[in-house]
Subunit: 380 residues, 2 copies
């Protein structure tokens, strides 16, 4: 049900170019409250610059998404293309203002969008809007995604639904992805933003598939208030968290060329920041990622990765488990590495820093020849 | 001629296990001055811990190197193995003290060395020592290296020679590698250390093949003074720099699975640190490294990588050239990317930060299916 699971929303996904590549999500209210989280890359795509601007007033009435190009590094012309897209959407939708229309783009960097197709596509999508269009919208925003990704969490009389695209370039400060989450709960702007930031911090921000940070990452949360129910903050935040967790896990499972989903639990860290720094360092170690592809529980590479961080730890107190077998104890050889079973798709590393009580979990993938192929055989 | 190009040195490379895997370099003086630079990884292999200790007095009379295991993450037992190796070498060499014997190891982390073979190997190598053994020593320290690596620079009556091993895990704070450089120049400890640090800072430290930092990196510079010539510092430092540059370039050319050698020139940076940070960020971008393998001049990925740094720059003033074609100007689309010829093995990226007058060069490689295979098919 995706973004149309919540009442007050309609959506469509259509072909503007060769395949499904343009989606539209419309909030018909009564509320148009919205919050957003964006890439922390200093090189921001034009649609991100636009979105940060239009969301400043805490309101969005519609979202246009395209998967045929990132519209990044396209200069002032690229920003004008975004404005034209938003104005087109406002024009074909009754009573909408371009300043309340978000635009999200994904695809190749450094290429202008074919604006004639985009603008015709917006018209077509507006004509196709329906209260069960969430699925087609989720399909239209795919690039190298092998499946479309949606999630739903239900409250007492209200609902949170979402869609995501993302299969590569997943890294901190958001995985490369476009995410739109909707709710019919009655939530004010402050609580909407608070719930979204809390959820992204421990879900999308902790997926690090290939260490590469995108110029286009965007997560939007839109509230229509159509249920008429004003939930308690905790319950609402938990539902947003649940949808973000679900979508983030789907991103990991669909990472380009990956054959393993790798969960890295850092425990007994001196701080949460230390735990995240160590988790990311492990997640980004290409040698380890290759070893995991080969189902080799190469804990030495884990220690080498930990050793490059500034986290608090003593090398001779580090412990590392792979799928529950403590192959490294006290910074040295532990249980027999041949007893580790790594045949399943999911592999769990536990790194015990023996330095405190904090913890964090980072998700990543293995590095495979298929990843290399997918990212070298054509421009992406 | 490798490490025996300089007078006063003898060397040997022998089979302690299945193939050439143990080398010995002996300095017969009259000087035994030495300097070293070691991995900045906080998880240091036992031989690094040993070397840092024995080089503290500025003297080394012999170096044992083995390529059958890193002796890293092996606890106190591993350090005792290093001590036993140094003591064995001191015992079989006349008039040597274990406290002046360095031990360098490379290979799999987290496995004890087969000490019976190592000790027998040291005996065998001592019996094989010769004034032209530098070549066999360079061969014996190879792991996944496809070729052995040596370099020589000649001064006026004196010489600097060196050997290196390294083919993967090449990253800052030294590439993963063992390097021994010798000279028959008469140089005091202070100038030896100064010349070595100056040279490694802009050569080995700026090779970043796969972003992974080793536990074992070591570069040693030994002076015998056997030429009787005391060169001016500048000339000597230039010779050391030349040998380090030569060996570092050979490491890049032999990186595991690589099909491209990539030179990243950062120019007009606000500081050298900024230039190095930006260069490393580009060098470590897996998506870009895949694109380069596919001969795709994907400058958008360069900008995305620059955007993750803290360097001084304005996104709309960035310029990027690939092999001399300025495909990105002012942060946007520049010259036609189809005019870039990337067929050669060497590819040069130039990133102009338009923020100052500093510059730096980082070397890296492309990311290939062969790299994945080499690092996933077996433990390494």
């Amino acid at each position: 049900m995706s973004v149309t699971a919540a009442r007050g929303f309609s959506a469509a996904g259509i072909k503007a170019g060769g395949g499904p590549d343009l989606a539209l999500v419309v909030n018909s209210g009564p509320l148009t409250t919205a919050a957003g989280v964006f890439t922390s890359n200093r090189v921001k795509a034009a649609p991100v610059v636009w979105c940060e601007r239009v969301i400043a007033n805490g309101a969005l009435s519609a979202v246009v998404l395209n998967s045929g190009g990132a519209n990044a590094c396209t200069g002032p012309d690229g920003l004008e293309d975004v404005r034209a897209t938003a104005e087109k959407a406002a024009g074909v939708l009754d009573g909408h203002d371009a300043a309340d229309v978000a635009v999200l783009s994904t695809g190749l960097i450094g290429v202008r969008l074919p604006m004639d197709r985009v603008l015709t596509g917006v018209e077509k999508a507006a004509a196709d809007l329906s209260a069960d269009g969430g699925e087609t919208a989720a399909i239209a925003i795919r690039t190298t995604d092998s499946v479309h990704k949606t999630a739903v969490a239900e409250g007492d009389g209200w609902i949170v639904g979402g869609m995501a695209k993302g299969a590569g370039m997943l890294a901190p400060g958001l995985a490369t992805m476009l995410v739109v989450i909707t709710t019919d709960a009655h939530v004010d702007g402050e609580n909407l933003g608070r719930a979204l930031r809390a959820a992204t911090r421990t879900t999308f921000d902790r997926v690090d598939s290939d260490g590469c940070m995108s110029t286009n990452d965007t997560v939007l949360l839109l509230a229509s208030g159509a249920s008429g129910v004003e939930p308690a903050y905790e319950g609402f935040a938990a539902a947003v968290q649940s949808v973000c967790e679900d979508l983030a896990r789907q991103l990991v499972a669909d990472a380009e060329g990956a054959s393993k989903d790798i969960r890295i639990d850092i425990v007994h860290a001196a701080s949460e920041d230390d735990a995240v720094e160590v988790g990311r360092s492990i997640a980004r170690n290409n040698l380890l990622k290759c070893a995991l592809h080969g189902e080799d529980p190469n804990w030495g590479r884990v220690l080498a990765a930990i050793g490059t961080t500034s986290a608090a730890f003593e090398p001779d107190r580090l412990n590392v488990a792979v799928n529950g077998v403590w192959v490294c104890r006290g910074g040295s050889i532990g249980e027999d590495r041949d007893t580790v079973d790594m045949r399943g798709r999911e592999v769990v590393f536990t790194a015990d820093l023996a330095a405190g009580d904090d913890a964090a979990t980072i998700w990543t993938n293995d590095l495979t020849a298929a990843y290399v192929h997918e990212n070298s055989a054509y421009s992406s």
